[in-house]
């Protein structure tokens, strides 16, 4: 698993800065924006913050929930839903957003390179 070894992790914020069932955005050094979500069951997910349907960097401000048990976020612009674990859009099978790995270490949320 050489890929794992090369992955770099960036500390973003304390765990309690991401409320349950909500999301926040983080700005990476390369200018990329990551939407970090925390589900009701304390799973953390990272998606590109860019909403592919509007071009606005706002996915972190969508409402987090589930569709048939699958954790999703609904874009705040036009309400399309994206699966948190894969970035796949549930409302348009041709669309998905980039995912970012997220891990918790020492009570701090880290985002990894994709």
């Amino acid at each position: 698993m050489t890929a794992m070894a090369q992955r770099t992790w960036v500390a973003v914020c304390p765990v309690e800065s991401v409320p349950r069932g909500d999301g926040v955005a983080a700005l990476l050094d390369n200018g990329e924006q990551v939407a970090i979500f925390r589900t009701e069951s304390d799973e953390f997910h990272g998606l590109s913050n860019m909403d592919p349907f509007s071009g606005a960097a706002v996915l972190s401000r969508g409402i987090v929930g589930d569709a048939d048990g699958v954790a999703v976020v609904a874009s705040p612009v036009y309400k399309q839903r994206f699966e948190l674990s894969t970035g796949a859009c549930l409302d348009d099978e041709n669309v998905r957003v980039r995912t970012y790995p997220v891990r918790i270490a020492g009570g701090v949320v880290h985002v990894g390179s994709p």
Binding site: Q33, I36, A56, I63
Partner: protein, 838 residues
């Protein structure tokens, strides 16, 4: 070379005739000349009583009745035909006009019958047929208001028309007396038992009923009138309205020697032709095969028959169904088929529930197998099911059918034959609706309505559409979303009753899963309405849609717009300057909204608290433009400045806006107040709109703009400010509690079983006894209101949310940029990224 059709009269039936011909006669083989006696085009005379609601004759207008733009039709109003020369085929009019015809249609209607009582022509005596009659009655009522004591009125005639007149007088604030010669009210439609209940129900509404007595004389008495009844009673009144039936206007026919029926009416055969093949008669002036009908539906049928004949097609009058169902002053009355058991051997089965005010009678054949007719008073809910069954075998024992629901199986919709008409307004049969459900795939009431037009006029059959869907096995889900099987209204009641104050507890106990973008904001709104503190408190924040989350409106580039409240659109120069300064300092785009306030666009999330610090310091508060909540109460300048204003519309608009600000609701709420009937504030395009009158305010509800523009309907008229506010309190709270998610007030009212009439019963007449509670809930809202933006500025935890990046507070989103257009900043839109295939 076109032929000339002359139509004498321009009422509803004449208009239907012209419409029917014009819709088929594209080549214009008929040139049509219509002579009307009234000075206005045909209008909805059946709905005449509703004229009292707003004194707006325009509301009674029939679409297309002035034929503007149709060169084949010449409409001459205020110029009745006064003579017919059948030999020369020519009519002459009161105005001296002469017109030759190839065909003549008499559609002169009826005149009110005034019994030859001494004094019947005194000033203060009226009839009830035209808009002008109602205007004259209105003027007399207003004059009497200026005199001593409360104005009083007597209505002579206790039939359908008499009760309509009584309703009109009651709507004008009077408690009328109704005098009927027969031993009961509506003697033609209902039987003795039904009449007794009808009398009780109508009496309870402030109408005094005198039956079984004649009106012997009307005498003038010191500026008032005294109606002397045959039973010795003397009624001191200001006005007397005669509504004792109508008589066909057959004078023209008599004058030119056409045959008339023994009891009046131009005699016509089943093709509507008179004894002269060039002359037809239709509507209430015609005695078709010897029978005169005083209803509009048979008149319409005659118009269609005559039109077909004139266009060279074969058509005959099939006879008419004189069944009636109406709501008089909120009392249901229906009569259908052989209501008086005139058929030989007919049997009657009666169910009379004096406690609940319901009387039902079925008339059945001597073997009790076939339904012949019936009478329903108090609760005519079964009319739609029973009327189509007339002449058909009964699906069950008559007593079982009449038993109240729950007592064991009232007649099911399955029992109706396919050809039974469910929607009589648009002539839609059960078969057509079933086909729409099973073959066209309509799976909801709105889908059935759109596909078949059933239920799109009066709406009384809408509950039947739901039952037909169920009967076809279509389950109509009222579930809010996949996480809650209950509707929004039910969820509201659950939250209200259990006082659950968090989403997690609610979904754990009454739903499943973790929620979604539908149920989370809906629950957030319910929690906010029920007073659970600031909408960003604790767990509530994660439920909010982004607009509520940032208390601003998300725009397409990820920035937000800011709308401070400007109640009633009134603003001081100092405050206006502050808005300008804020826009300049933060580089915002400024635009005046349709709701008489100012929208500032292009704020990033980190700018929002700083912008609001300035605004709150200057005395502004949240305008809730971001919420499903009260937006604005727009106003015209009103009596303070305007030469025509009759009330202080700005003052009332501010009072209403401050009262209902912050009220979370199923959808946005808009309002307006106009200071006079010119309606400059466009109040009838609002969810609740108020229009000033000389005596107070008229309240209209259920209006909106948008994709389905709709004018609001009059709910109450001429009320004082205190009453007005009390009724708006009830209206809004009832809406907030019972509407579906994202349902504006117009579709909400439309979907109420009973529509506007039901709404009026609940919130004006308090038929459910919930008004005190609705008012108390609104009082709590008013008391607990606090400015949401002030709440954010005072709380560091909430302020901390206003940042684009959790790891870089204060850094704005680098993808946002602006360019200048017409001297203001506008967003530079990023290209939408190439979609990524799976």
């Amino acid at each position: 070379m076109s032929r000339t059709l002359v139509v004498a009269g321009h009422g509803m039936v004449a208009h239907r005739l012209v419409e029917a011909i014009r819709s088929e006669d594209a080549e214009g083989t008929w040139r049509i000349v219509v002579f009307g006696e009234e000075r206005r085009p045909a209008y909805d005379r059946v709905g005449l009583t509703s004229y009292v609601d707003g004194w707006d004759a325009g509301a009674l207008a029939l679409p297309g009745a002035d034929y503007s733009g149709d060169e084949a039709v010449e409409l001459r109003l205020g110029d009745p035909v006064t003579g017919v020369d059948r030999e020369a085929r020519r009519v002459v009019t009161a105005g001296g006009h002469s017109e030759r015809y190839d065909a003549l249609v008499l559609a002169t209607g009826s005149r009110p019958f005034v019994p030859p009582v001494p004094g019947h022509d005194l000033p203060g005596c009226f009839v009830y047929r035209t808009i002008e009659d109602l205007d004259a009655i209105h003027a007399a009522v207003e004059r009497a208001r200026g005199g001593r004591g409360r104005p009083a009125a007597a209505v002579v005639g206790g039939g359908l028309l008499g009760l309509e007149a009584a309703k009109a007088l009651r709507d004008m604030g009077l408690s009328p007396h109704v005098v009927e010669m027969a031993p009961r009210l509506m003697p033609l439609q209902v039987d003795e038992g039904g009449g007794a209940l009808l009398r009780r129900l109508v009496t309870a509404l402030g109408v005094t009923v005198h039956t079984g007595t004649s009106t012997d004389a009307i005498e003038a008495d010191r500026g008032k009138l005294c109606a002397k009844l045959g039973n010795g009673t003397e009624l001191d009144v200001d006005l007397v309205v005669f509504s004792a039936g109508v008589r066909p206007r057959d004078d023209l026919a008599r004058q030119c020697g056409l045959e008339v029926a023994e009891r009046g009416g131009v005699l016509v055969d089943s093709s509507c032709r008179t004894s002269d093949p060039h002359v037809y008669a239709i509507g209430e002036c015609a005695a078709i095969e010897g029978r005169v009908y005083g209803l509009v539906a048979p008149g319409y049928t005659m118009a269609e028959v005559a039109a077909a004949r004139l266009l060279g097609r074969d058509a005959t009058f099939p006879g008419a169904d004189t069944s009636t169902k109406l709501k008089l002053m909120g009392v249901d009355v229906a009569s259908f088929g052989d209501a008086h058991a005139a058929t030989e051997g007919a049997l009657e089965v009666v169910f009379n529930d004096a406690v609940n005010g319901s009387y039902k009678k079925l008339v059945v054949s001597d073997d009790s197998a076939t339904l012949l007719g019936g009478v329903l008073v108090g609760d005519a809910g079964d009319y739609n099911l029973l009327r189509p069954l007339v002449g058909n075998p009964l699906p069950a024992d008559p007593a079982t059918i009449l038993a109240p629901a729950g007592g064991g199986g009232a007649v099911g919709i399955e029992a109706l034959p396919e050809e039974a008409q469910i929607c009589s307004c648009n002539a839609v049969t059960k078969g057509a609706i079933t086909w729409a459900i099973t073959d066209e795939g309509c799976d909801s009431v709105p889908a059935v309505k759109a596909c078949t037009r059933a239920g799109t006029s009066c709406g009384s059959c809408v509950p039947m559409l739901g039952r037909l869907l169920s009967a076809c096995g279509v389950e109509q889900s009222k579930a809010l979303c996949e996480h809650f099987t209950v509707s929004r209204a039910e969820l509201f009641e659950i939250v209200r009753a259990t006082r659950i104050s968090t989403f997690s507890e609610l979904i754990a106990r009454h739903g499943k899963g973790s929620g979604c973008a539908i149920c989370k904001p809906a629950v957030a709104s319910i929690l906010a309405t029920l007073g659970n503190g600031h909408i960003l408190n604790g767990e509530q924040a994660a439920l909010q849609d982004t607009n509520d989350h940032y208390l601003a409106n998300l725009q397409r580039n990820g920035t937000y717009s800011v709308v401070p409240r400007i109640p009633g659109g009134e603003i001081t120069p100092d405050k206006l300057i502050v808005i300008g300064e804020v826009a300049r300092e933060f580089g915002l785009y400024a635009k005046i909204t349709g709701g008489q306030r100012i929208d500032l666009f292009g704020a990033t999330v980190e700018q929002l608290p700083r912008i609001w610090r300035r605004l709150v310091d200057a005395g502004f508060e949240s305008g809730h433009a971001y919420g499903k909540a009260l937006r604005t109460v727009k106003s015209c300048v009103g009596s303070t400045w305007c030469r025509y204003g009759v009330q202080d519309s700005v003052g009332l608009a501010i009072e209403l806006e401050l009262r209902y600000r912050g009220l979370r609701s199923p959808h946005k709420l808009k309002s307006a107040v106009s200071g006079c009937a010119r309606e400059c504030a466009e109040a009838r395009g609002k969810d609740f709109g108020v229009i000033a009158t000389d005596n107070g305010w008229n309240l209209y509800v259920g209006g909106n703009g948008g994709t389905m523009p709709r004018h609001a309907d009059l709910l109450v008229s001429d009320v004082d400010t205190e009453t007005l506010i009390r009724i708006i309190d009830r209206f809004l709270m009832f809406y907030v509690r019972t509407a579906d998610r994202l349902q504006r007030t117009a579709p909400w009212i439309e979907e109420l079983d009973g529509g506007l009439g039901h709404l009026r019963e609940v919130i004006v007449e308090d038929s459910l006894g919930i008004c005190a509670e609705l008012e108390a809930a609104m009082a709590r809202h008013v008391e607990e209101y606090a400015d949401e933006w002030k709440g954010v500025l005072e709380d560091p935890e909430k302020l901390a949310r206003f940042t684009s990046f959790v790891n870089a507070p204060g850094v704005p989103d680098p993808t946002i940029s602006f360019r200048t257009e017409r001297e203001q900043p506008v967003p530079v839109l990023l290209p939408v990224p190439e979609v990524v295939g799976r």
